[in-house]
Symmetry: C2
Subunit: 206 residues, 2 copies
């Protein structure tokens, strides 16, 4: 085959190329892809709820992927610190990552404190209508501080951590999140049920 023919061949393939898109992947996975964006104070229960939800979704043969500090801060965002600028860049990259995973057809569980409304609004802006589900994991600061699962509040109170959300940095409560779960009132299983009900009622788990 001549180079000219090769070129024609390539052109043809490009021309007839049917890229596999989000709709087809979603159909194959039998679900409506979305991001469940868990936001809340440290100790509010984001990771606990997200992990339990991941198990439940798996049992339902749904395909989800959990993004949290564990798999992000050491890898994709390993070059970032905790300055204001780096925090914004951290959330920007996570948002773009969520967009790609949604495009791949997955249900993404993103569990980050994400204290600022503008950052969450940015994540929402990248996604299509109905694809961004903000889950406000609500628990009073006093409850989170008593739980203090990683001992971070104690460190913050001793001044060993600075700009710690809830102590010397703001947490901006969401306006009109799709879901609010109250982890001071309900146990994790009940919270997960509440989210699953939302997903079912809104056609994400067809």
């Amino acid at each position: 085959m001549s180079t000219k023919q090769q070129q024609d061949n390539l052109d043809n393939v490009v021309w007839h190329q049917h890229k596999i898109g989000k709709q087809q992947r979603a159909k194959a996975k039998q679900q409506k892809p979305c991001v469940l964006w868990f936001t809340g104070l440290s100790g509010s229960g984001k990771s606990t709820i997200a992990n339990l939800l991941e198990q439940k979704l798996f049992e339902l043969s749904k395909q989800s992927y959990l993004l949290d500090g564990d798999n992000i801060r050491h890898g994709l965002c390993g070059d970032l610190g905790f300055s204001d600028r780096d925090r914004v860049e951290n959330i920007r990259r996570i948002s773009e990552l969520c967009k790609l995973f949604v495009d791949s057809g997955e249900i993404v569980l993103a569990a980050f404190i994400s204290p600022f409304r503008t950052d969450r609004a940015f994540a929402r802006s990248l996604l299509g209508d109905g694809e961004f589900v903000e889950v406000f994991v609500d628990a009073p600061l006093a409850v989170c501080e008593e739980r203090d699962p990683k001992g971070l509040y104690k460190k913050a109170r001793r001044g060993e951590i600075h700009k710690f959300t809830g102590i010397d940095s703001d947490y901006q409560v969401p306006y009109g999140p799709e879901i609010t779960i109250d982890t001071a009132k309900y146990n994790p299983q009940e919270c997960v049920e509440q989210i699953l009900n939302y997903l079912t009622e809104n056609g994400f788990l067809k």
Copy 2:
């Protein structure tokens, strides 16, 4: 329920928590997740082959996701330019992204010129044994330049693009890639067959 009981409850859930891991996700998707890392000159056929392969995998009910300039350069790496430093950071982020998608159980098709051995070695280093499949898309520079699907070689020859791979920047041929496909000799369908054979023989499509 008291806050103390809530805490116990959360502790219990954390304790009994069975995180869903890569193995389980791969099993559910009925495939062995990996990265097919397509490397080669501009115009060698990386995107054409990767797109065609994506279609074939979809027809086989395999779950893959294609990463290329289209969905990376405008999003996750939209803040990066083309300086040496930015090119390295670009490949670093793509590598970390591949790692996350493999962790989610997908077969990732990554199509980037990625001209430097150190960058490809970095991507490989992030992944487990057998998870990184380097696909050298081989075509002589003269053939790629004649194809010139985006008119970039012409621009480079006129000096309108600098540090263009193959013209005034090196392309480092892979040492021992898992697969070499010769797009000057075989048509895209044949190239895709060759890759599918490799994937079948090595248990990726079980």
